[in-house]
């Protein structure tokens, strides 16, 4: 039984790491209805920038601040160069643009900072702590706590601040938002900037876990089932989706792995996501379209 609990908790905590990446998607999807394929590259770019500066001996907080500045600069540039000319085009056009963008960001990051794997030490001790009979990774706990703080902060931002309400208004009806004087461009820059900050947090934690390397962009693929299960428009959904994906992956690996020949965790969450698409296409917490009949 304690083995089950340990696997379960380990899975939940691993899932929070996926949630961190998924939140970045939710932010941009909520504000502009675009699935931002470049989110993974932004995570990588943030991690790579930070670790490069750390390798040069720059102070931890200063490096964080510079990285954040660069992420915000990227956000503004993306709005100016990519989104603004494509406004009012079909969503698939914007999606394709973010796909291209992901290669551009990856390429530039690679040219500027090289392609080797960097170790990243955030100073978090990773000795497991024992609660009762269960061992829990301390690093994962820190990651989970970070995600928790992020979610609370973002919920307050979206529900109680003017910018947050305006962002939700844009997501609902961009034309109506423009008609009452909401400036799309400014708000897109803000939301991409916030998404840049979230990618920084995700990049640091993933980088510390796996090393900063190009495989980081692949966490996007794992964020996809998280988004489908939790719903593309809900930050809470991103967290719950992450927990479900993490827990089900690790439990499936342990209990089905021996029957199916292993590496169940690489595909199990996708099967789960397909199931959700059939039963509840908006995800657990996504905004169902409201239609008056």
């Amino acid at each position: 039984m304690s083995f089950f609990v340990e696997t379960f908790i380990g899975g939940l905590l691993a899932g929070v790491m996926y949630s961190l990446v998924a939140i970045g998607f939710v932010l941009i999807y909520k504000a502009s209805g675009v699935f931002n394929f470049a989110q993974g590259s932004m995570v990588l770019c943030a991690g790579l920038t930070f670790v490069t500066m750390r390798d040069r001996g720059i102070d931890f907080w200063l490096a964080g601040l510079i990285t954040l500045t660069i992420m915000v600069a990227i956000a503004i540039a993306v709005e100016r160069v990519v989104l603004r000319p494509l406004v009012n085009r079909p969503q698939i056009t914007l999606f394709m643009a973010t796909l291209g963008l992901s290669f551009v960001i990856e390429g530039i990051a690679q040219i500027a900072m090289g392609a080797s794997v960097h170790e990243l030490d955030l100073g978090i001790v990773d000795t497991p702590i024992t609660v009762g009979e269960v061992q829990v990774s301390q690093f994962d706990l820190v990651a989970a706590a970070t995600a928790g703080v992020l979610v609370i902060a973002l919920s307050i931002f979206f529900n109680w601040t003017r910018v947050g309400i305006a962002l939700r208004a844009i997501a609902d009806d961009p034309l109506a938002a423009r008609s009452i004087g909401i400036r799309l461009q400014t708000l897109w820059q803000i939301v991409w900037g916030v998404a840049g900050f979230v990618s920084l947090v995700a990049g640091l934690l993933w980088g510390a876990r796996q090393g900063v390397q190009f495989a980081l962009t692949l966490v996007v693929l794992k964020a996809l089932p998280v988004l489908i299960i939790g719903g593309f428009t809900s930050i809470t959904g991103a967290i719950v989706g992450g927990l479900i994906v993490g827990a089900s992956d690790s439990l499936a690996e342990i209990y089905l792995g021996s029957l199916l020949g292993g590496s169940v965790s690489t595909w199990f969450s996708y099967v789960l996501a397909v199931g959700f698409l059939l039963v509840r296409p908006t995800g657990l917490f996504g905004d169902a379209p409201i239609e008056r009949i």
């Binding site: 009012n88 309400i165 009806d173 009452i180 909401i182």
Partner: protein, 263 residues
């Protein structure tokens, strides 16, 4: 004729997608403090005229290809829609366009952001809107997508009033609503005009209704102003109704059809 210092639309042409000519030389003016009706059938160019004024044509890939629109002496075509709202011109879109996932109160608040008011000023403005539309206050925390058509129209007008406009461009407020609700909404419009000094440019198909409330009217037909005059004069004329039925188009404009996107 003296130049108006309020809204002046001078001989404008609007092209959609560089190909479809929707307006072919429309001129009109709105005097401060008045209600002006913009009449015409579907596709006559009412919505296009309003969107040209509020600079929202870009979202439908349309643009002003000739003519000029001036608001208090300033040409509007280089202004961002948000700049125009900040200067007091706001549009209530056809089909209401509320934010369905936001509550009624959030919808209204969103209209207040453009002026960056203090927290207190925003709360005061909200109370002001609730005083005109008491029903909205009762349902303030309902998600707007789930409210009735009449309530949504009230939200759309209230949200526009939150920007503290001097001119409201109101596109088909009666669309899809029960006559009794339409009557209520028009009375509120008249009150806003009389008590708050807000001017209205009202696009409507229902000529009989709108001419009861308006001071002046323009009838659009195929992207041109066919008739204009005071509301009292227009209401007397028999041929105004004919423009809606298309009877008047048979002889003159039939040889030169104009496609107008209906948006």
């Amino acid at each position: 004729m003296t130049t108006s210092q309020f809204l002046e639309v001078d001989n404008i042409e609007v092209l959609y997608s560089h190909a479809i000519l929707a307006l072919r030389g429309v001129s009109l003016r709105v005097e401060e403090g008045s209600i002006v009706a913009l009449l015409g059938a579907n596709g006559a160019g009412k919505t296009t005229t309003l969107k040209a004024i509020s600079n929202l044509l870009g979202s439908e890939r349309g643009h002003l290809s000739r003519g000029a629109i001036t608001w208090r002496g300033e040409a509007t075509n280089r202004l961002d829609p948000a700049d125009l709202v900040a200067r007091g011109v706001v549009q209530v879109l056809e089909g209401r366009h509320v934010f369905p996932q936001l509550t009624i109160e959030e919808n209204l608040l969103a209209g207040g952001f453009v002026r960056r008011p203090s927290r207190r000023a925003l709360a005061d403005d909200l109370e002001r809107v609730y005083s005109w539309f008491p029903r909205l206050k009762q349902r303030r925390s309902a998600r707007c997508g789930l409210t009735s058509g009449g309530e949504q129209q009230m939200v759309a007008i209230g949200r526009a009033m939150m920007t503290r406009p001097t001119l409201v461009l109101l596109d088909e407020p009666s669309m899809g609503l029960a006559p009794i609700i339409v009557e209520e909404i028009f009375h509120i419009i008249r009150d806003l005009n009389r008590n708050e000094g807000v001017s209205f440019l009202l696009a409507e198909q229902n000529a009989h209704l709108v001419l009861r409330f308006a001071d002046h009217g323009y009838v659009l037909e195929n992207g041109r102003v066919a008739v204009s005059g005071t509301a009292a004069v227009l209401a007397e004329r028999d041929d105004v109704a004919e423009f809606y039925l298309g009877a008047a188009t048979a002889g003159t404009a039939a040889a030169e059809p104009v496609q107008t996107p209906i948006v």
